[in-house]
Every structure is written in C-alpha cells, then in structure tokens.
Symmetry: C2
Amino acid sequence: MTTPGPSPSVHVRSAGSALPGEPVDNTALAAALGVNEEWIDVFIGTRTRHFARDLTSGDIRWTLADLCADAAANALESSGTDPAEVEFLVLGTATPDHLMPATVNQVADQLGLDQLPTYQLQSGCAGAVQALSVAQYLIGSGEFTTGLAIGGDVCTKHLDLRRDLSEAAPGDLVNCVLFGDGAGAAVLSSRPSDKDVALRRVLNRCTGLGREPGQIIDWFGLADRDEPRQALIEDYKAIEESVPTMAVEILWELLDSLGWAAGDLDFLLPPQLSGRMTRLITEQLGVPEAREISCVADTGNNGNALPFLQLELLLREMTSGQKALAVAVESSKWIKAGFALEHL
Amino acid sequence: MTTPGPSPSVHVRSAGSALPGEPVDNTALAAALGVNEEWIDVFIGTRTRHFARDLTSGDIRWTLADLCADAAANALESSGTDPAEVEFLVLGTATPDHLMPATVNQVADQLGLDQLPTYQLQSGCAGAVQALSVAQYLIGSGEFTTGLAIGGDVCTKHLDLRRDLSEAAPGDLVNCVLFGDGAGAAVLSSRPSDKDVALRRVLNRCTGLGREPGQIIDWFGLADRDEPRQALIEDYKAIEESVPTMAVEILWELLDSLGWAAGDLDFLLPPQLSGRMTRLITEQLGVPEAREISCVADTGNNGNALPFLQLELLLREMTSGQKALAVAVESSKWIKAGFALEHL
C-alpha cells in the first residue's frame, strides 16, 4: 500500500430513512405466516419490522426505488441540501427491483436528477458501507463536491405468503421472520454542514477465501423458475460462531488504523442481524462505555438500509468532539465492513 | 465541478477474456430455439455466440464466477502480473450468479485472493465502464497500486430452451437471439507495463430523466416466480432511434474533454449491440479514419464482457503514440458511457 496523496476530506452532512407502512409486530407476523409467535420473540428477538407488501391483501405498495428516493429526499431535507447540488448517486442493495435498469437510475428519476454518474453495488448489508466507500473515493478525487450514498432492501419477491411453514425447519423459517424492508441515505460532501461530522475511515474487505457462504440469496429466471431448489440458505450456526469474532476484529482494526483507543469511543453502531444476535455481539465487542446505536429490534433486518438507519439515529445524538464507530459483517462471503466518524 | 487534485495516473497493463465452449452458429441456434435462421442473419446480423449452458443437453457448464475468474487469470498472465499484486476487484454484471454472495467474492475465491476490497456493480454493458471508473478512483486515491476490473454476463437462467418461439413477436424473439455469455477483465495499475497504455478518461452518466427504460431484465423470487409477466422487455424501436445519436454525443464529449480531434483517433471501439446495429452506429459515428474494433458479430451480445473483449483486441494492435476511444450505451435507463486510452 502506498501513502494516500492529499485529497479533500469527506463529511456526512445528514442522513434520512424510509420505512414502508406501519410496523408489523410478532403477533401479526406469526398470524400471517402461520408460525409460532413465541419462537420469533425468543429466537429472533426482533419486535417489529416494516414490509413493502401488504401482509393482508398481498398488494405491493412500495418498490425499492420508491423507498430509496424517499430516504434520499429526507436526507437532503435534513441538512437543507438542495437536490441540484447532488453530483452522483451510489446505491447498495441485495434486492434490486430489476436486474436492468439498475434501481439507482430509477431513484435518480424519482429525485428529478439527470446527467450524473450512478453506481449500484450488489451486496448484503456490506453494500451500504461499500456505497460510503465509493462516495468517499469520488469526493476524495476532487472531481465531485456532494453526492448521495443510499442503501435499501425489499424482500417482496421472496416473501411468499401462500407457503405453509408449519413444518419448516428452523434454518428455513429464520429467513421468513428475520427480514424487513426499508431504505436509508446519507448526504456526503467535501463541504461540511453546520454540524461537522467527518467520515474518518471506511473498511470493506472480503475475507472468505476457502469458506462456504454463510448466507445465499438466489434469484430465478425464465428458464429455471420452476426448479424446486432452495433459494434462501442461512447457515445460522456458522453465523453465530463467526460474526461476533469478526465484529471484534473489525472494531480493533478500525481503532488501530485511526490511533483511537476503545475508551475514546462515544458511540458504537454494532452489526444488526436480529434483536437477539445484536445483543450477543454488542456484549462481546466489550466497549460498554460507548453508547450503543441499534435499530434492528424495531426495524427488522432490512439489509443495506441498516447502517444508514443507525447513522440517522447517531447524527441526532452526536455533539462536538465525539467519536463513533460502526461495525458491519456480511456473512454471505464473510465481508468485514465498518466506518468511523468524528464530530469536529 | 472542482478541479481534480494531483493523483497517480492509471494504466491498463493488460486485458483477458473467457468465452464458454465452442461458438454456436445461426444454424445451430435456429434449430435449438425453433426460429428462422435467415431472420437471425438479417435482423440481428450476429454470426456466432457462446453459451455457458449446453444447448443440446441443457447442462450448465460454467457459472459467471467461473468465466470471470478465467478472464481475470488470462488478463494477469498476459502482462505477467503476479496475482499477489492484486489489491482490489471490481466486477460489472447484469446477471449475477446469486443476489448474495456477490459473484465478485466467488471470483476472489477462485483466484485465491483474500483480505481485499471487492465491489460488484449492477448494470448492463455500462457496468464494464463503471468498473473501470471505480478502479480509476481507487488507484487515483493513491491507496492502491494494482487491481482488476472485470465484466461478464451469463444468460443461462433466462435462456429457456423448452419454450415454443414459433409464434413469438419480433420484440420478444430478439431477446432470445441477441445474447451470448462471456467475461473479460483488465489489469489496472499506477505502474504501467512495458506497453504503457494510459486510461485518459472514463465517462459514466445516467441521462434517463423522464424516459421509459429501453430495456428491462427482471428476476423472480419465491413469491412471484409463477407470475406470467414478461421478464425481458426490449423497446428495439426506441433503441434504434436513440442509441446512434447518443453514441455520437459520447464520442464528441470525450474528444472535447481531452482536447482531441476526431482525426487524432487511431482506433474506435463502438457500442456492441448486435452485428447489424454496430454497423449502423459505426457509420453514424463518422470517424472512418479510425480503425474499428468490434467483436459482437462473433461473440454475441455478452453485456458487460464486451468492452473488455474489445480492449483485449485493441491492446494487441495499439502501438506507441496511438489513441483509442470506446463508446458504450446502456439503453435500460439511457446511460452514456465510454473511455479513452493513449499509448505513450
């Protein structure tokens, strides 16, 4: 690695989010899916989530593009940033509305933006961090002043309300009760807002050599859509074993790279797998003096939205001189991700 | 726009490709699909293409990850670049093997690469140019010396060999005979190889505000896979009307931004939609003194592979002092893309 040259520093001007409809609690989810409510309470530990599809009528009420455009508009409004200042869009998602056009271009359309570069990153929740990373390089190049990083996921296409889950195995069931829908966004700029929050570091690294994926989400085409293969695979034992350890490694790598001590941290944004897993991971991270910023127990696991939802909560609390660190793990192919912020 | 700061220049050390199996000619394709051979000859103008699926047995012989890893290995070998020098991977594709894990991480696995940042861009053929763009920013930041930009597509999941196409409308049929499978890759570095080819400019811009998509490729999930909706939509009249004009605009924008005249160009890499369309577009680009580098009539439209296949052909021909310009148009949401190279 060579030493980075001089480049503009990158600031988070604001963040925003969009969660579809009213929260769906475990009583309603258990009834809609025909599963045991207590099992969701205890095994998942998530209380509510939001869905782009109406669980009663089955109607699709929001696309991913709708939610991402709403989140982006909310983020822009929050710092009074004029949409005309937006020079690029970067979107991270695992569940695009279509394969083509990329959803990010539909988001540009909804925001009234034209003649600008767009990038859409295919990833699980690490995609949100990758979106921050790409935005950081774009602004760092000096070619752009201000842009939007967006993350979101919608599980509508995989949320099969007709399926009988009464006999499903836990490793299959977990996919039906873990997820929710939503989007989040951040306005990034070389020009800080009145609240000057600097993006100090972004980590994005694949560490999966020789390891089986911990999570697979598949898609079907015209030629294979009636194949009976399992489209969602979650090795939750491997996840429970590896993710807490990886989270600790990410935390310390980011701290070391910045010369920060654990005691310097005012806020910790831990990985948001489920209410129960996030509690376990946060305990193991071992920085009790840092205030935890989590949302998954209320929002469900909405993938690439999560780091932006946490960021929105963080920016409301953070004050001058404070430091925050976010940790994200994508168990699909074991991606270490995270970022560090400092309120100047 | 601000002025870019000082940053390392980016060089294309080498390129490589991977096309699955033997070429499939129009006689074989027409027989497999039950369509008219002469119609393919005249209306599409593509002579051969390659498929990851065996048209006779239906067996899947290569995944996208397989082809991308082969292309990347070929690109590395071509310039004698040690795989251990690779510090990042960026992959552009419209047709990932799965939604998660992103295919780029499986490619890393196959190449024996670990502990490095990976990015996968969801896009049509503009994704190949976006991969070059992201690689350029990564190297330009000074944080990385050498990395791989990869592009590829595999139509296996959408290539339904059981379907009766005898009564299909042209706008539907075109999707069955336009595409092929393949991958390409380029080694990019701040350290040139003996053949010093500089990446002078990359253009990536969404220009689709208020316009309907010219092309839609959809995917199915567990909940909607038996819906009868059309998964592939191609507005070939809008494409024939807009793409040649957009190609001319891209050409002139790139030339103007570099202070190059049309007469300075030694090579032209035009958009690769189909044999027939590429001929039409190249005529309208109006730079007959530049030598055309095209491959689509032999490879079929393999999406994100195409710009890398052209790049591989170009690097074999290019000599010191020569200039080349590539033009790509993604009709999905009307993305203008392209890049410029100069052999120093």
